[in-house]
Symmetry: C2
Subunit: 251 residues, 2 copies
DNA sequence: TTCTCCTGTTCGTAATTACGAACAACATTA
DNA sequence: TAATGTTGTTCGTAATTACGAACAGGAGAA
């Protein structure tokens, strides 16, 4: 593993500030949190502010993420014809079933949320673009993992599966059986395994034959009925076919 | 101006790769483009890939923007209650008038695009989140500049206004008169000044009394009518009032 | 094959950065 | 008022990084 100290520092600063937006991020605090001397971080922060990657409020002594991070980050999705259509697809799904829809990819062993469309009757579920969750605990993740061999799964989770909620799958064998079901039926399910009171249904999206993305709909348990499940499966199936048709390009 | 070399390098790399997605970005090419030795960039790139800020395709020798950039960048908008509502507002506008709507802020002397909702009958206009345009050449920019004093304007454009298209305003006096109109009427307009065949209407959004954001609708000239202009003004006015009510928080 | 052109990788020394301590400026607390 | 706790800033030396050259491996052309 490479470790170029200066580079590591720049990236550590970005992550620290981005992931702790509630905390007052002063130079002194960043220094404490990263266990690095103020005098070392000082010129780095100066440069990052001058370049627009960070903002600095002189009154409150707070560093925050700057617009250049947004500009750079936006380019992550520009590849692939898919991202041009995904907004409309999510919107259609959510407008039809009135529940929150998500679009995600696999990142290591985690689900990486790329986009979402909030339900109008939204029970503000804790999810947003850029968020990560252990794949095996979500419907999206099960769709994204459905492609993997037993060996690949073992490599992704060398220490086994830990429980996120009391309903999370913790047995690799159970997971494998569920993934087999996903391959057979085309749908993955989640019953309060990552969020209390939330159930999810998802489908894998294939690009050039390999699973690359997944779409899901999240439903609060008290609104979950057989009719709704049926409706959502149809919407997801429709979305899957539409997207897979539009995009045969590799990333 | 601070210049911490290592930090500068990291940021240069991100910008180079993000802004030249069509070009094959190999180590050798990055070295050439940044005029920095391969051996210096090598450990930096290694670290950035290891941390997920860049992806590297060993077959094509291409570095690209990684998911962590997306994660970090996504946090730029989390501040402020506004961003939670802006999606719905743009969607409402576009669904009513069937034209593309934009949300932006001022960044130096440039318009910085934060969000958009594409028209269903979209004449794919070249615009996307993270893009920048000279403020004086766009309706969004004129709304965002409407707050500025003559002195501030002079500071923002010390070298005057250059023409983006043949319709771009290049006289500071004309710009000032138009900004006066924006203050009086509440709307700003653009007639093919930044994009050929595109006209725009925009409104400023105030947070705590100061102009902070703007919303616009872009219309191809051949679909532009007085009735449509009237409709769009009403939609924008409605959106403005809705957003300003919901958000009195400073950034 | 052989040559060329592309890629990434390694190494020893010169130049740059990192460190800790000391300082200054301001706000809050005693 | 004085004491304490913030904050950012500066400096000289030790440790790290940057540099250019040389090398290695693969692709394609002569």
């Amino acid at each position: 593993m490479a470790d170029h100290r200066s580079t590591t520092r720049v990236l550590d600063i970005l992550e620290l500030i981005a992931r702790n937006q509630d905390e007052k991020m002063s130079l002194a605090n960043i220094s404490k949190r990263l266990q690095a001397p103020k005098s070392s971080l000082y010129p780095i922060l100066q440069t990052m502010v001058a370049r627009g990657y960070l903002n600095y409020d002189e009154n409150s002594y707070v560093y925050s993420i700057g617009s250049l991070c947004y500009e750079i980050g936006s380019r992550y999705l520009d590849n692939g014809a898919l991202s041009q259509h995904i907004d409309q697809v999510l919107e259609h799904i959510t407008s039809q079933c009135q529940e929150t829809s998500h679009f995600a990819e696999l990142n290591g062993n985690e689900v990486f949320y790329l986009n979402k469309k909030d339900s109008p009757q939204s029970i503000r579920m804790f999810s947003s673009p850029g968020k990560r969750l252990m794949a095996y605990s979500t419907a999206l993740g099960k769709s994204l993992l459905s492609d993997k061999s037993d060996e690949e799964l073992a490599e992704l989770y060398p220490n086994g599966l830990y429980a996120v909620t009391e309903h999370t799958i913790t047995s690799m064998d159970v997971l494998k059986k569920q993934l087999e079901e996903v391959r057979r039926t085309g749908f993955s399910y989640e019953v309060e395994e990552s969020n209390h009171y939330i159930r999810c249904i998802a489908v894998p999206i294939r690009v050039n034959g390999r699973v690359r993305y997944a779409i899901s709909v999240a439903v609060p348990v008290f609104r979950y009925t057989q009719e709704k499940e049926e409706q959502i499966r149809n919407l997801l199936q429709e979305a899957k076919e539409s997207l897979e048709q539009k995009c045969v390009l590799p990333r």
